[in-house]
Symmetry: C2
Subunit: 354 residues, 2 copies
Amino acid sequence: MDLSERKKRILSAVIDEYVKTAEPVGSKAIVGASGLKVSSATVRNELAELTELGYLEQPHTSAGRVPTVKGYRLYVNELMIQKSVPEEDADAIDKNLRSGLSKPDKMTEAAGRLAAELTDYPVLTVTRSAPVTIKRYDLIHVDANTIIVVLLLDDNSVKNKLMTLPFSVEKNMIARLSAVFNTSFTGKSEEQFSPVLISAAERSVGDNMGLTSAVVAFALETMAETAGARATLSGGSKLLSHPEFSDPEKAKSLMSYMSDSNHFSGLATSGFDDIKVMIGPENIAEELKDSSVVLARYDAGDGMQGLIGVVGPTRMDYSAVAAKLKYIADGLSKALAENKDKSIPGFGKLMLRD
Amino acid sequence: MDLSERKKRILSAVIDEYVKTAEPVGSKAIVGASGLKVSSATVRNELAELTELGYLEQPHTSAGRVPTVKGYRLYVNELMIQKSVPEEDADAIDKNLRSGLSKPDKMTEAAGRLAAELTDYPVLTVTRSAPVTIKRYDLIHVDANTIIVVLLLDDNSVKNKLMTLPFSVEKNMIARLSAVFNTSFTGKSEEQFSPVLISAAERSVGDNMGLTSAVVAFALETMAETAGARATLSGGSKLLSHPEFSDPEKAKSLMSYMSDSNHFSGLATSGFDDIKVMIGPENIAEELKDSSVVLARYDAGDGMQGLIGVVGPTRMDYSAVAAKLKYIADGLSKALAENKDKSIPGFGKLMLRD
DNA sequence: ATTGGCACTCATATACTTTGAGTGCCAATT
DNA sequence: AATTGGCACTCAAAGTATATGAGTGCCAAT
C-alpha cells in the first residue's frame, strides 16, 4: 500500500519543518512550506489519514503533527532528498584531514572532532582491527639486565616494551632468543602459542629464568590489545545544545552511556551500504531508545573498517548529517590510505626548521 | 580581626547544611544542626553580622543565608574538620589501584575514573613530563626499504616508528647510522640538534638521501610529544547530577570547556601542599568562575608530578572531596612507583593461562 | 547579652482566567 | 468525488490574582 504523491510531500514537509522548529507542525505551516496548491483544510484531511496510518502523531488534540518513528523511517528510506555538503564544510573537511600526516588513531580522532563541530552532535568513532599476528621480533640488549622487545605486527604497526630483568643476560643469549622467536612464533595466532612450543623454545636457548615466557606474555598481550575495537567519543557536550536534552536526567543518562566506549565497540561495520541510520527504538540499547544514530563506514586500510557516527535526538536533519558523515568518512579513508604509502615521514617538516 | 568561636561554629553550620540541601539556611535550622544552646534570635543576630562581614549572603530579604566565596574560603582554610575516607571507598581505591600492573597512562586514567565515581564529580588528571632526551637509538633493518627506529628515552619509555623508504638501504648503512646517532645525538635537548651536527652526521655515514634527517625528525617529534602535559577528563556526565547545572546552557559551557584538555594542561603542579582548592572566581578561566576545583598532587616517578582533581559547583563537600582525592593521589603515587620497579612484566599472568 | 514576640518581606504554590494555534467536521462549491 | 470556507471545539501555555509560610529585622523584656 503506497502513499499518494501528495501525502508523501506533506509528510516530508512535516518532517522538514519539525526538524527546523522542534514544534508540532500545523496544516497552515505545511501549505506555506510545501508549496502545494491546496487549502489548509485539504491538508488537514491528509494529515488525519497520515496519522491514522501511523506516520504522524499529535502530542494533544489541539496541537500540530509530529513525525513518528515510522514516519522518519519512511522519510529516511524513500523521501528525503540527498543534501550535499555545504562548500564551506567540505573545504574545512578537506583541509583538516589533509593537514599533518599523523598516526591513524590521531587522524580518526581529529575526524571525530571535526564531525562533531560540523554536525553539532556528539560523534563516536569505532575502529575494529582484524586479529593480527607478529611478523618479526627484535630483542635489543640495553644493558646487563635491561632489554627492549620490539614487535612488528602484520598490519605494519610496531609495539615495544622495556623489560627490567631481575638477573643479567648475555648479549648472545638475547640474539639466540630473538632468532628462536623469529622462527617459531611468527605468523602465529593467539591459540597457536602452545605450552609445548614455548617450552621447546625455552630449552633450545637454555632459558631457565622465564625470559621466554615474558616475551611470549608481551606478544600475547599485544595481540589481544591490538585486536578488538577501540571507540572514542567527541563533542559530548554538543548534546546539551538540543532542546530534547534540556532535562538533565535524560542528558545524563545518554551522556554517561556514551562515555563508556565499550557500548559502541561492538557495532557492526558491515551489513549496510555507506550509511546506516538507526531511529529511536530501532536501537537496541535502552538508553538510546529516544535517540537516533547515524553511522558511516570508513576504510582503515589492510581490510580494516571503522565507523564514524553521530548520536542525537530522533528529530535530526538526517539528510544533512548523513551527507557530512559520508564526506568525512570518505575523506578519512583517503587520508589513511595516503598516510600508509607515505615515505620518509616528517622529512618535510624538518626541512622547514631553518 | 578574628571571628568569635560562636560565629565560626555558625558559619560552619551554614556551610555544612547548605552543602547538604542546596537551600538557603535559616536561623532555626542552624540551632538544630549546630547544637548551640542559644535561641534562633541570637543566631539571627550573629547571621546579620556574618552577612555584614561578607561571609554570607541572602538571595533575597526573606530567605536564609548562603555562603559567599569569602565564607567558603575561611571554611576551607580554617574551619572544616578533616574528614576521613569512608572505609568502603578506601577499600575500593586500594583494590582498584593495586590490581593489574599496567602502563602509567592507563593507571592514571583508571584513578581518574575511580575518583569520578567516588566523588560524583567530573575528574581531570594532568601529567606533566620534564623535557626528555634520548639515551639510545636502535635502527632495525626490516627489509631493503623498511626500517624501524627505536628510541629509548631517559625516562625509560620507548618509542618506535616504522619507516618505509623510497629507496633501498644496506644493512651496514643502518648500522653505521645507528652508531653515529648513539655517539652524536644522545642526551641532547631539542635545541642541540643543530643543522651543523646533522649535516656532519649525514656526511660521516654517507647519507645523501635524507635518512638522517628523517630519523632526526622522528626524534624531535618524539621529544616534543613526550614533553609537555597530557590532560584527561573522566565522568564528565557527573556534572549533570548537580542542581547547579540543571540549566543546559551552564552545563554546556563548563562541559565543553573541560573537554578541551588544553585548558588544564597548564595547571601548576607546584606551589601548594597536598591539596589546592580554587573556589569560584578564584579560578582564572571565565568558564570556571561559578565552579570550584580541588586538586591533589601525585608523584609520577622520575621527579615527574601529576595532578588529579575534581571540578564541581562551589557548593561542594570540600572536606570529603579533598580527603578522597588525597587518598587516591597517594595510592596512585605508590602504585606508579611499584610499577616502575616491577621486574619481568606479565610473567605471572602467563603462568595462569592453563 | 539573650530571648520571645511581632510586623514585615517575598519567593513559591495554587487556583482561576485568557488566549490562540490548531483541530475536526459539515455544508457549500467546483 | 474532491476541495474548500466556515465554525465550534479543545487544550497547552501564558497571564493574573491570591494565599502560604519560611525567614527576617527589630524591640522591649528578661
